[in-house]
Protein backbone atom coordinates (compact mmCIF):
# COMPACT_ATOMS: atom_id res chain seq x y z
CA UNK A 1 0.00 0.00 0.00
CA UNK A 2 2.75 2.41 0.99
CA UNK A 3 4.56 1.36 -2.18
CA UNK A 4 1.53 2.16 -4.32
CA UNK A 5 1.20 5.58 -2.71
CA UNK A 6 4.84 6.24 -3.46
CA UNK A 7 4.47 5.16 -7.09
CA UNK A 8 1.33 7.25 -7.42
CA UNK A 9 2.83 10.51 -6.13
CA UNK A 10 5.98 10.17 -8.24
CA UNK A 11 3.80 9.45 -11.29
CA UNK A 12 1.54 12.38 -10.45
CA UNK A 13 4.45 14.79 -10.23
CA UNK A 14 5.68 13.78 -13.70
CA UNK A 15 2.28 14.65 -15.15
CA UNK A 16 2.05 17.85 -13.13
CA UNK A 17 5.39 18.95 -14.51
CA UNK A 18 4.21 18.30 -18.06
CA UNK A 19 1.05 20.28 -17.37
CA UNK A 20 3.16 23.18 -16.06
CA UNK A 21 5.41 23.10 -19.08
CA UNK A 22 3.05 22.49 -21.96
CA UNK A 23 5.51 23.50 -24.65
CA UNK A 24 7.16 20.12 -24.09
CA UNK A 25 4.12 18.50 -25.69
CA UNK A 26 4.59 20.40 -28.92
CA UNK A 27 8.33 19.91 -28.86
CA UNK A 28 7.93 16.17 -28.65
CA UNK A 29 5.46 15.81 -31.52
CA UNK A 30 7.11 18.35 -33.82
CA UNK A 31 9.93 15.95 -34.64
CA UNK A 32 7.79 12.94 -35.60
CA UNK A 33 5.44 15.13 -37.60
CA UNK A 34 8.37 16.60 -39.47
CA UNK A 35 9.50 13.09 -40.31
CA UNK A 36 6.06 12.19 -41.49
CA UNK A 37 5.66 15.25 -43.70
CA UNK A 38 9.15 15.36 -45.15
CA UNK A 39 9.90 11.69 -45.65
CA UNK A 40 6.36 10.42 -45.97
CA UNK A 41 5.37 13.23 -48.32
CA UNK A 42 8.69 13.37 -50.10
CA UNK A 43 9.34 9.70 -50.67
CA UNK A 44 5.86 8.30 -51.23
CA UNK A 45 5.79 9.34 -54.86
CA UNK A 46 9.32 8.14 -55.59
CA UNK A 47 9.07 4.82 -53.82
CA UNK A 48 5.57 3.95 -54.86
CA UNK A 49 3.64 1.14 -53.23
CA UNK A 50 5.57 -1.23 -50.99
CA UNK A 51 2.77 -3.69 -51.45
CA UNK A 52 -0.74 -3.26 -52.79
CA UNK A 53 -2.51 -0.61 -50.76
CA UNK A 54 0.53 0.40 -48.71
CA UNK A 55 2.50 3.38 -49.91
CA UNK A 56 5.55 4.67 -48.05
CA UNK A 57 3.61 7.22 -46.00
CA UNK A 58 1.23 4.56 -44.74
CA UNK A 59 4.15 2.26 -44.07
CA UNK A 60 6.12 4.73 -42.01
CA UNK A 61 3.17 6.21 -40.10
CA UNK A 62 3.11 3.46 -37.44
CA UNK A 63 6.90 3.79 -37.25
CA UNK A 64 6.54 7.49 -36.56
CA UNK A 65 4.02 6.80 -33.80
CA UNK A 66 6.37 4.22 -32.36
CA UNK A 67 9.26 6.63 -32.58
CA UNK A 68 7.29 9.36 -30.78
CA UNK A 69 6.31 6.97 -27.99
CA UNK A 70 9.78 5.51 -27.60
CA UNK A 71 11.61 8.81 -27.67
CA UNK A 72 9.30 10.37 -25.10
CA UNK A 73 9.45 7.32 -22.85
CA UNK A 74 13.20 7.14 -23.11
CA UNK A 75 13.52 10.86 -22.48
CA UNK A 76 11.59 10.49 -19.25
CA UNK A 77 14.88 9.22 -17.85
CA UNK A 78 16.04 12.79 -18.20
CA UNK A 79 13.76 13.76 -15.34
CA UNK A 80 15.96 11.76 -12.94
CA UNK A 81 19.08 13.49 -14.19
CA UNK A 82 17.25 16.79 -14.03
CA UNK A 83 16.07 16.16 -10.47
CA UNK A 84 19.58 15.22 -9.47
CA UNK A 85 21.07 18.33 -11.03
CA UNK A 86 18.52 20.67 -9.49
CA UNK A 87 18.50 18.99 -6.11
CA UNK A 88 14.93 17.73 -5.95
CA UNK A 89 16.11 14.13 -6.11
CA UNK A 90 17.40 14.54 -2.55
CA UNK A 91 13.92 15.35 -1.33
CA UNK A 92 12.74 12.10 -2.92
CA UNK A 93 15.68 10.05 -1.68
CA UNK A 94 15.22 10.98 1.98
CA UNK A 95 11.45 10.51 1.83
CA UNK A 96 9.96 7.36 3.39
CA UNK A 97 9.46 5.68 0.05
CA UNK A 98 11.45 2.82 -1.46
CA UNK A 99 13.84 3.22 -4.37
CA UNK A 100 11.77 0.76 -6.41
CA UNK A 101 8.63 2.87 -5.94
CA UNK A 102 10.53 5.90 -7.23
CA UNK A 103 11.73 3.98 -10.29
CA UNK A 104 8.28 2.52 -11.06
CA UNK A 105 6.63 5.91 -10.59
CA UNK A 106 9.10 7.50 -12.98
CA UNK A 107 8.65 4.74 -15.57
CA UNK A 108 4.87 4.93 -15.40
CA UNK A 109 4.92 8.73 -15.46
CA UNK A 110 7.11 8.76 -18.55
CA UNK A 111 5.02 6.02 -20.17
CA UNK A 112 1.78 7.91 -19.58
CA UNK A 113 3.20 10.99 -21.21
CA UNK A 114 4.58 8.87 -24.06
CA UNK A 115 1.15 7.33 -24.68
CA UNK A 116 -0.37 10.75 -24.79
CA UNK A 117 2.23 11.85 -27.35
CA UNK A 118 1.58 8.72 -29.38
CA UNK A 119 -2.13 9.48 -29.46
CA UNK A 120 -1.44 13.03 -30.63
CA UNK A 121 0.54 11.68 -33.57
CA UNK A 122 -2.11 9.03 -34.20
CA UNK A 123 -4.65 11.79 -34.72
CA UNK A 124 -2.91 12.51 -38.03
CA UNK A 125 -3.89 9.15 -39.51
CA UNK A 126 -6.32 10.59 -42.07
CA UNK A 127 -3.43 12.63 -43.50
CA UNK A 128 -1.72 9.46 -44.74
CA UNK A 129 -5.01 8.02 -45.88
CA UNK A 130 -5.33 5.30 -43.27
CA UNK A 131 -8.63 3.87 -42.14
CA UNK A 132 -8.74 2.95 -38.49
CA UNK A 133 -11.58 1.59 -36.42
CA UNK A 134 -12.20 1.94 -32.70
CA UNK A 135 -11.04 -1.60 -31.95
CA UNK A 136 -7.64 -0.95 -33.48
CA UNK A 137 -7.20 2.23 -31.46
CA UNK A 138 -8.41 0.48 -28.34
CA UNK A 139 -5.87 -2.31 -28.86
CA UNK A 140 -3.14 0.19 -29.57
CA UNK A 141 -3.38 1.73 -26.09
CA UNK A 142 -2.03 -1.22 -24.06
CA UNK A 143 0.54 -1.87 -26.78
CA UNK A 144 1.82 1.71 -26.54
CA UNK A 145 1.87 1.48 -22.75
CA UNK A 146 3.92 -1.70 -22.94
CA UNK A 147 6.55 -0.40 -25.34
CA UNK A 148 6.70 2.91 -23.47
CA UNK A 149 7.32 1.18 -20.14
CA UNK A 150 9.96 -1.11 -21.65
CA UNK A 151 11.96 1.65 -23.33
CA UNK A 152 11.28 4.06 -20.48
CA UNK A 153 12.94 1.65 -18.08
CA UNK A 154 16.00 1.57 -20.34
CA UNK A 155 16.06 5.37 -20.15
CA UNK A 156 15.78 5.26 -16.36
CA UNK A 157 18.53 2.65 -16.17
CA UNK A 158 20.91 4.89 -18.07
CA UNK A 159 19.81 8.01 -16.20
CA UNK A 160 20.21 6.44 -12.78
CA UNK A 161 23.99 6.52 -13.12
CA UNK A 162 24.25 9.83 -14.99
CA UNK A 163 25.34 12.96 -13.21
CA UNK A 164 24.76 15.57 -15.88
CA UNK A 165 22.32 16.40 -18.63
CA UNK A 166 25.12 16.57 -21.17
CA UNK A 167 26.24 13.02 -20.61
CA UNK A 168 22.67 11.75 -20.76
CA UNK A 169 22.20 13.66 -24.03
CA UNK A 170 25.28 11.96 -25.48
CA UNK A 171 24.29 8.49 -24.36
CA UNK A 172 20.84 9.08 -25.73
CA UNK A 173 22.13 10.04 -29.13
CA UNK A 174 24.36 7.00 -29.28
CA UNK A 175 21.70 4.60 -27.99
CA UNK A 176 18.17 5.53 -28.88
CA UNK A 177 18.76 7.00 -32.34
CA UNK A 178 20.60 3.94 -33.68
CA UNK A 179 17.98 1.75 -32.06
CA UNK A 180 15.15 3.61 -33.77
CA UNK A 181 16.90 3.73 -37.14
CA UNK A 182 17.73 0.03 -36.97
CA UNK A 183 14.21 -0.95 -35.98
CA UNK A 184 12.36 -0.89 -39.25
CA UNK A 185 10.47 2.20 -38.22
CA UNK A 186 11.43 3.86 -41.51
CA UNK A 187 12.17 1.00 -43.89
CA UNK A 188 10.94 -2.55 -44.42
CA UNK A 189 13.26 -5.08 -42.82
CA UNK A 190 12.23 -8.07 -44.91
CA UNK A 191 15.09 -7.95 -47.38
CA UNK A 192 18.22 -6.52 -45.80
CA UNK A 193 21.91 -7.38 -46.12
CA UNK A 194 22.71 -10.01 -43.53
CA UNK A 195 24.85 -7.79 -41.25
CA UNK A 196 22.10 -5.19 -41.12
CA UNK A 197 19.47 -7.89 -40.66
CA UNK A 198 21.36 -9.22 -37.65
CA UNK A 199 21.49 -5.76 -36.06
CA UNK A 200 17.80 -5.23 -36.71
CA UNK A 201 16.82 -8.58 -35.21
CA UNK A 202 18.77 -8.16 -31.97
CA UNK A 203 17.37 -4.66 -31.53
CA UNK A 204 14.50 -4.70 -29.01
CA UNK A 205 12.93 -1.64 -30.61
CA UNK A 206 12.27 -3.74 -33.73
CA UNK A 207 9.79 -5.79 -31.71
CA UNK A 208 8.19 -2.63 -30.41
CA UNK A 209 7.64 -1.07 -33.83
CA UNK A 210 6.46 -4.20 -35.64
CA UNK A 211 3.31 -4.89 -33.59
CA UNK A 212 2.22 -1.26 -33.88
CA UNK A 213 2.54 -1.49 -37.64
CA UNK A 214 0.85 -4.85 -37.81
CA UNK A 215 -2.03 -3.55 -35.78
CA UNK A 216 -2.53 -0.27 -37.61
CA UNK A 217 -2.15 -1.79 -41.08
CA UNK A 218 -4.07 -4.98 -40.27
CA UNK A 219 -7.10 -4.04 -42.34
CA UNK A 220 -4.96 -3.07 -45.31
CA UNK A 221 -3.13 -6.34 -44.96
CA UNK A 222 -6.32 -8.34 -45.03
CA UNK A 223 -7.45 -6.47 -48.10
CA UNK A 224 -4.27 -7.19 -49.99
CA UNK A 225 -3.70 -10.64 -48.48
CA UNK A 226 -0.27 -10.93 -49.95
CA UNK A 227 2.43 -13.31 -49.00
CA UNK A 228 5.98 -12.13 -48.22
CA UNK A 229 4.57 -9.14 -46.48
CA UNK A 230 6.57 -5.98 -45.78
CA UNK A 231 4.40 -5.49 -42.74
CA UNK A 232 4.84 -8.67 -40.76
CA UNK A 233 8.17 -9.26 -39.10
CA UNK A 234 9.79 -12.66 -39.60
CA UNK A 235 12.28 -14.29 -37.28
CA UNK A 236 14.14 -17.33 -38.67
CA UNK A 237 11.49 -17.62 -41.34
CA UNK A 238 8.70 -17.59 -38.79
CA UNK A 239 6.20 -14.74 -39.21
CA UNK A 240 5.70 -13.25 -35.77
CA UNK A 241 2.34 -12.44 -34.27
CA UNK A 242 1.59 -9.30 -32.31
CA UNK A 243 1.46 -11.40 -29.15
CA UNK A 244 4.90 -12.86 -29.71
CA UNK A 245 6.43 -9.49 -30.38
CA UNK A 246 4.71 -8.03 -27.33
CA UNK A 247 6.09 -10.89 -25.25
CA UNK A 248 9.64 -10.05 -26.33
CA UNK A 249 9.12 -6.38 -25.48
CA UNK A 250 7.60 -7.39 -22.16
CA UNK A 251 10.57 -9.59 -21.31
CA UNK A 252 12.96 -6.82 -22.26
CA UNK A 253 10.99 -4.38 -20.12
CA UNK A 254 11.04 -6.65 -17.07
CA UNK A 255 14.81 -7.07 -17.30
CA UNK A 256 15.36 -3.33 -17.78
CA UNK A 257 13.03 -2.44 -14.91
CA UNK A 258 14.87 -4.86 -12.62
CA UNK A 259 18.21 -3.44 -13.66
CA UNK A 260 17.10 0.15 -13.24
CA UNK A 261 15.80 -0.51 -9.72
CA UNK A 262 19.11 -2.13 -8.90
CA UNK A 263 21.15 0.71 -10.42
CA UNK A 264 19.05 3.38 -8.76
CA UNK A 265 19.40 1.71 -5.36
CA UNK A 266 23.19 1.80 -5.45
CA UNK A 267 24.56 4.49 -3.14
CA UNK A 268 25.01 7.81 -4.90
Amino acid sequence: MAELRGIYIIWYRELLRLYRNKTRIFGAIAFPLLFLLVFGGGLSRTIGSLQPGVNYAKFMFPGVIGQAVLMTAFMSGVSIVWDREFGFLKEVLVAPVSRSAVVLGKILGGASIAMFQGLLVLAFYPVVGLNLNAIQIFKLLPLMLLVACALGSLGILIASRMKSMESFQIVMQTTIFPMIFLSGAFFPVGNLPSWLNALVKINPVTYAIAPIRQLLLSRVEIASASSGSTITLSLYGHPMSIGEEAAIVFGFGIVMTGLSIWAFSLPE
Binding site: R13, E85, K90, S164
Partner: protein, 324 residues
Amino acid sequence: MPPIIQVEHLVKKFKDITAVNDVSFEVEEGEIFGFLGPNGAGKTTTINILCTLLKPTSGRAILNGFNVTTQQNQVRQSIGLVFQDPSLDDYISALENLQFHAFIYHVPPKLRQNRIEESLKMVELWERRNSIVKTYSGGMKRRLELARGLLHQPKVLFLDEPTLGLDPQTRNRLWEYILRLRQERKMTIFMTTHYMDEAENADRIAIIDHGHIVALDTPVTLKQQTGGDIIELKTANDELALAELKQRYQIEARHDGGGLSFEIANGDQFIPTLVTALSIKILSISLRRPTLDDVFLKLTGRQLRDQEAGAREILKDQMRPMRR
Protein backbone atom coordinates in the same frame (compact mmCIF):
# COMPACT_ATOMS: atom_id res chain seq x y z
CA MET B 1 14.66 9.31 28.37
CA PRO B 2 17.19 7.81 25.92
CA PRO B 3 19.01 10.26 23.65
CA ILE B 4 17.20 10.95 20.38
CA ILE B 5 20.40 10.50 18.38
CA GLN B 6 23.18 8.10 19.36
CA VAL B 7 26.27 7.91 17.21
CA GLU B 8 28.93 5.35 18.02
CA HIS B 9 32.35 5.17 16.37
CA LEU B 10 31.08 6.32 13.03
CA VAL B 11 33.53 6.04 10.13
CA LYS B 12 32.97 6.95 6.49
CA LYS B 13 35.65 6.46 3.87
CA PHE B 14 35.47 7.54 0.24
CA LYS B 15 38.13 5.69 -1.71
CA ASP B 16 41.28 7.22 -0.22
CA ILE B 17 39.68 9.94 1.91
CA THR B 18 38.37 9.37 5.41
CA ALA B 19 35.62 11.98 5.68
CA VAL B 20 34.35 10.91 9.09
CA ASN B 21 36.86 9.30 11.40
CA ASP B 22 35.55 7.57 14.53
CA VAL B 23 32.90 10.07 15.55
CA SER B 24 30.76 9.41 18.64
CA PHE B 25 28.19 11.69 20.27
CA GLU B 26 24.67 11.82 21.63
CA VAL B 27 21.92 14.38 21.14
CA GLU B 28 19.19 14.79 23.75
CA GLU B 29 15.59 15.30 22.77
CA GLY B 30 14.64 18.95 22.44
CA GLU B 31 18.14 20.34 22.20
CA ILE B 32 19.76 22.38 19.48
CA PHE B 33 22.92 20.56 18.61
CA GLY B 34 25.49 22.23 16.39
CA PHE B 35 28.25 20.88 14.24
CA LEU B 36 30.85 23.57 13.75
CA GLY B 37 33.83 23.19 11.47
CA PRO B 38 35.40 24.36 8.23
CA ASN B 39 34.15 23.17 4.86
CA GLY B 40 35.25 19.63 4.22
CA ALA B 41 35.48 18.74 7.92
CA GLY B 42 32.90 15.98 7.60
CA LYS B 43 29.75 17.79 8.72
CA THR B 44 27.63 17.08 5.68
CA THR B 45 28.88 13.50 5.44
CA THR B 46 27.72 12.89 9.01
CA ILE B 47 24.31 14.41 8.25
CA ASN B 48 24.01 12.33 5.10
CA ILE B 49 24.64 9.18 7.11
CA LEU B 50 22.11 10.20 9.77
CA CYS B 51 19.45 10.92 7.16
CA THR B 52 20.07 7.57 5.35
CA LEU B 53 21.57 9.04 2.18
CA LEU B 54 24.94 7.40 2.86
CA LYS B 55 25.91 4.13 4.47
CA PRO B 56 28.67 4.34 7.07
CA THR B 57 31.85 2.34 6.46
CA SER B 58 31.67 1.24 10.09
CA GLY B 59 30.07 2.31 13.34
CA ARG B 60 26.45 2.70 14.29
CA ALA B 61 23.88 5.48 14.43
CA ILE B 62 20.49 5.29 16.12
CA LEU B 63 17.89 7.98 15.54
CA ASN B 64 14.58 8.07 17.40
CA GLY B 65 15.24 4.44 18.34
CA PHE B 66 15.79 3.33 14.73
CA ASN B 67 19.01 2.19 13.13
CA VAL B 68 19.90 4.46 10.20
CA THR B 69 21.25 1.63 8.05
CA THR B 70 18.68 -1.08 8.70
CA GLN B 71 15.48 0.86 9.43
CA GLN B 72 15.70 3.53 6.79
CA ASN B 73 12.00 4.17 6.28
CA GLN B 74 11.33 4.67 9.99
CA VAL B 75 14.32 7.01 10.25
CA ARG B 76 13.19 8.97 7.19
CA GLN B 77 9.72 9.37 8.66
CA SER B 78 11.29 10.75 11.86
CA ILE B 79 13.37 13.49 10.30
CA GLY B 80 12.97 16.73 8.41
CA LEU B 81 15.73 18.25 6.35
CA VAL B 82 16.87 21.58 5.04
CA PHE B 83 19.86 20.96 2.81
CA GLN B 84 22.61 23.39 1.99
CA ASP B 85 21.71 23.19 -1.70
CA PRO B 86 18.14 23.84 -2.82
CA SER B 87 16.01 20.72 -3.20
CA LEU B 88 12.68 22.12 -4.37
CA ASP B 89 10.89 21.42 -7.62
CA ASP B 90 11.30 24.80 -9.29
CA TYR B 91 8.69 24.21 -11.95
CA ILE B 92 5.66 23.70 -9.75
CA SER B 93 4.12 25.99 -7.16
CA ALA B 94 5.09 26.24 -3.50
CA LEU B 95 1.77 24.69 -2.55
CA GLU B 96 2.33 21.76 -4.89
CA ASN B 97 5.79 21.18 -3.45
CA LEU B 98 4.26 20.96 0.01
CA GLN B 99 1.39 18.75 -1.15
CA PHE B 100 3.90 16.35 -2.65
CA HIS B 101 5.81 16.28 0.61
CA ALA B 102 2.71 15.85 2.81
CA PHE B 103 1.53 12.95 0.67
CA ILE B 104 4.83 11.13 0.49
CA TYR B 105 5.33 11.50 4.26
CA HIS B 106 1.87 10.07 5.01
CA VAL B 107 0.38 13.18 6.57
CA PRO B 108 -3.29 12.16 7.02
CA PRO B 109 -5.52 13.76 4.36
CA LYS B 110 -7.64 15.56 6.98
CA LEU B 111 -4.64 17.30 8.46
CA ARG B 112 -2.83 18.12 5.21
CA GLN B 113 -4.51 21.42 4.36
CA ASN B 114 -4.15 22.77 7.90
CA ARG B 115 -0.54 21.78 8.28
CA ILE B 116 0.41 23.26 4.93
CA GLU B 117 -1.34 26.51 5.74
CA GLU B 118 0.23 26.66 9.19
CA SER B 119 3.78 26.12 8.00
CA LEU B 120 3.46 28.47 5.06
CA LYS B 121 2.10 31.17 7.34
CA MET B 122 4.93 30.64 9.79
CA VAL B 123 7.53 31.40 7.14
CA GLU B 124 5.33 34.17 5.71
CA LEU B 125 4.87 32.62 2.29
CA TRP B 126 1.13 31.90 2.45
CA GLU B 127 0.34 34.84 0.17
CA ARG B 128 2.75 33.49 -2.42
CA ARG B 129 1.65 29.86 -2.20
CA ASN B 130 0.49 29.62 -5.79
CA SER B 131 3.62 31.11 -7.34
CA ILE B 132 5.94 28.81 -9.24
CA VAL B 133 8.99 28.28 -7.04
CA LYS B 134 11.30 29.42 -9.82
CA THR B 135 10.11 32.97 -9.20
CA TYR B 136 11.18 32.86 -5.53
CA SER B 137 14.34 34.51 -4.23
CA GLY B 138 17.05 32.45 -2.53
CA GLY B 139 15.81 33.42 0.92
CA MET B 140 12.20 32.57 0.10
CA LYS B 141 13.25 29.16 -1.19
CA ARG B 142 15.11 28.42 1.99
CA ARG B 143 12.08 29.47 4.05
CA LEU B 144 9.88 27.24 1.92
CA GLU B 145 12.24 24.35 2.52
CA LEU B 146 12.03 24.98 6.23
CA ALA B 147 8.23 24.95 6.02
CA ARG B 148 8.36 21.74 4.04
CA GLY B 149 10.73 20.07 6.50
CA LEU B 150 8.19 20.68 9.28
CA LEU B 151 5.06 19.40 7.55
CA HIS B 152 5.24 15.86 8.84
CA GLN B 153 6.21 17.05 12.34
CA PRO B 154 9.56 15.30 12.46
CA LYS B 155 11.23 14.44 15.75
CA VAL B 156 14.55 15.80 14.50
CA LEU B 157 15.04 18.67 12.10
CA PHE B 158 18.36 18.68 10.25
CA LEU B 159 19.64 22.01 9.07
CA ASP B 160 22.73 21.68 6.91
CA GLU B 161 24.26 25.15 6.61
CA PRO B 162 20.72 26.55 6.57
CA THR B 163 21.74 30.13 5.97
CA LEU B 164 24.56 29.62 3.48
CA GLY B 165 24.43 32.30 0.82
CA LEU B 166 21.66 34.27 2.48
CA ASP B 167 21.89 37.93 3.40
CA PRO B 168 22.15 38.80 7.11
CA GLN B 169 18.55 39.98 7.35
CA THR B 170 17.17 36.74 5.93
CA ARG B 171 19.50 34.77 8.16
CA ASN B 172 18.10 36.49 11.21
CA ARG B 173 14.54 35.86 10.08
CA LEU B 174 15.26 32.18 9.53
CA TRP B 175 16.77 31.91 12.98
CA GLU B 176 13.72 33.54 14.52
CA TYR B 177 11.58 30.78 13.02
CA ILE B 178 13.95 28.06 14.15
CA LEU B 179 14.15 29.30 17.71
CA ARG B 180 10.37 29.64 17.83
CA LEU B 181 10.01 26.06 16.67
CA ARG B 182 12.12 24.78 19.43
CA GLN B 183 10.19 26.80 21.95
CA GLU B 184 6.75 25.83 20.68
CA ARG B 185 7.29 22.23 19.67
CA LYS B 186 10.30 21.08 21.68
CA MET B 187 11.74 19.82 18.43
CA THR B 188 15.30 18.52 18.35
CA ILE B 189 17.41 20.50 15.92
CA PHE B 190 20.66 19.24 14.47
CA MET B 191 22.53 21.83 12.50
CA THR B 192 25.85 22.30 10.81
CA THR B 193 27.42 25.63 10.18
CA HIS B 194 30.71 27.30 9.66
CA TYR B 195 29.39 30.65 10.88
CA MET B 196 30.46 30.97 14.49
CA ASP B 197 27.78 33.51 15.40
CA GLU B 198 25.18 31.05 14.18
CA ALA B 199 26.67 28.25 16.23
CA GLU B 200 26.11 30.39 19.34
CA ASN B 201 22.40 29.56 19.04
CA ALA B 202 23.08 25.93 19.83
CA ASP B 203 22.76 24.39 23.28
CA ARG B 204 25.77 22.24 22.63
CA ILE B 205 28.38 22.36 19.93
CA ALA B 206 30.64 19.70 18.53
CA ILE B 207 33.70 21.20 16.88
CA ILE B 208 34.71 18.97 14.03
CA ASP B 209 37.93 19.07 12.03
CA HIS B 210 39.34 16.55 9.55
CA GLY B 211 36.59 14.10 10.43
CA HIS B 212 37.27 14.20 14.19
CA ILE B 213 35.29 15.79 16.97
CA VAL B 214 37.91 17.91 18.74
CA ALA B 215 35.58 19.38 21.37
CA LEU B 216 31.97 19.02 22.45
CA ASP B 217 30.34 21.32 24.99
CA THR B 218 28.09 24.32 25.49
CA PRO B 219 29.23 27.48 23.71
CA VAL B 220 29.92 29.17 27.06
CA THR B 221 32.12 26.36 28.38
CA LEU B 222 33.95 26.11 25.09
CA LYS B 223 34.75 29.79 25.18
CA GLN B 224 35.99 29.59 28.74
CA GLN B 225 38.62 27.14 27.53
CA THR B 226 40.40 29.89 25.68
CA GLY B 227 41.73 31.36 28.90
CA GLY B 228 39.82 34.61 29.08
CA ASP B 229 39.84 37.79 27.06
CA ILE B 230 41.80 38.40 23.94
CA ILE B 231 44.03 41.42 23.70
CA GLU B 232 45.22 42.58 20.31
CA LEU B 233 48.18 44.84 20.28
CA LYS B 234 50.16 46.86 17.76
CA THR B 235 53.51 48.25 18.74
CA ALA B 236 56.46 50.06 17.17
CA ASN B 237 58.42 46.81 17.32
CA ASP B 238 56.38 43.63 17.64
CA GLU B 239 59.41 41.34 18.00
CA LEU B 240 60.72 43.21 21.03
CA ALA B 241 57.24 43.46 22.49
CA LEU B 242 56.77 39.72 22.09
CA ALA B 243 59.99 39.07 23.99
CA GLU B 244 59.16 41.56 26.69
CA LEU B 245 55.66 40.10 27.25
CA LYS B 246 57.17 36.69 27.66
CA GLN B 247 59.93 37.86 29.96
CA ARG B 248 57.92 40.16 32.16
CA TYR B 249 54.45 38.47 32.28
CA GLN B 250 55.12 34.92 31.01
CA ILE B 251 52.62 35.63 28.24
CA GLU B 252 52.95 33.67 25.00
CA ALA B 253 51.72 36.12 22.41
CA ARG B 254 51.16 35.24 18.74
CA HIS B 255 51.68 37.19 15.57
CA ASP B 256 48.19 37.82 14.36
CA GLY B 257 47.45 39.84 11.26
CA GLY B 258 49.44 43.04 11.52
CA GLY B 259 50.09 42.80 15.26
CA LEU B 260 50.22 40.58 18.32
CA SER B 261 47.47 38.85 20.22
CA PHE B 262 47.29 36.93 23.45
CA GLU B 263 44.75 35.62 25.92
CA ILE B 264 44.52 36.73 29.49
CA ALA B 265 42.00 36.55 32.30
CA ASN B 266 40.48 39.91 33.29
CA GLY B 267 41.99 41.64 30.30
CA ASP B 268 40.27 44.95 31.09
CA GLN B 269 42.34 45.27 34.27
CA PHE B 270 45.52 44.19 32.56
CA ILE B 271 45.45 46.87 29.86
CA PRO B 272 46.36 49.87 32.15
CA THR B 273 49.27 47.91 33.63
CA LEU B 274 50.53 46.98 30.22
CA VAL B 275 50.27 50.47 28.78
CA THR B 276 52.36 52.01 31.58
CA ALA B 277 54.86 49.20 31.93
CA LEU B 278 55.71 48.18 28.38
CA SER B 279 58.94 49.81 27.22
CA ILE B 280 58.03 49.62 23.52
CA LYS B 281 55.69 52.23 22.13
CA ILE B 282 52.12 50.96 21.77
CA LEU B 283 50.37 52.05 18.58
CA SER B 284 46.99 50.52 19.32
CA ILE B 285 45.43 48.15 21.77
CA SER B 286 42.05 46.43 21.87
CA LEU B 287 40.25 43.84 23.90
CA ARG B 288 37.49 41.45 22.91
CA ARG B 289 35.62 38.55 24.40
CA PRO B 290 36.56 35.14 23.02
CA THR B 291 34.48 33.76 20.15
CA LEU B 292 34.07 30.21 18.93
CA ASP B 293 36.56 31.12 16.24
CA ASP B 294 39.17 31.56 18.98
CA VAL B 295 38.18 28.20 20.42
CA PHE B 296 38.67 26.64 17.04
CA LEU B 297 42.01 28.38 16.60
CA LYS B 298 43.18 27.17 19.97
CA LEU B 299 42.09 23.59 19.31
CA THR B 300 43.33 23.22 15.77
CA GLY B 301 45.89 25.96 15.31
CA ARG B 302 43.93 27.31 12.35
CA GLN B 303 41.32 29.98 11.85
CA LEU B 304 37.86 28.73 11.11
CA ARG B 305 36.83 30.97 8.33
CA ASP B 306 39.71 32.27 6.29
CA GLN B 307 42.31 31.10 3.82
CA GLU B 308 41.31 27.51 3.14
CA ALA B 309 37.61 28.21 3.17
CA GLY B 310 38.03 30.40 0.11
CA ALA B 311 39.76 27.75 -1.92
CA ARG B 312 37.38 25.02 -0.81
CA GLU B 313 34.36 27.10 -1.62
CA ILE B 314 35.47 27.26 -5.23
CA LEU B 315 36.21 23.55 -5.32
CA LYS B 316 32.85 22.82 -3.76
CA ASP B 317 31.04 24.83 -6.42
CA GLN B 318 32.75 22.83 -9.12
CA MET B 319 31.95 19.57 -7.38
CA ARG B 320 28.35 20.52 -6.81
CA PRO B 321 26.72 18.60 -9.66
CA MET B 322 28.70 15.50 -8.69
CA ARG B 323 27.70 15.52 -5.07
CA ARG B 324 24.02 15.37 -5.73
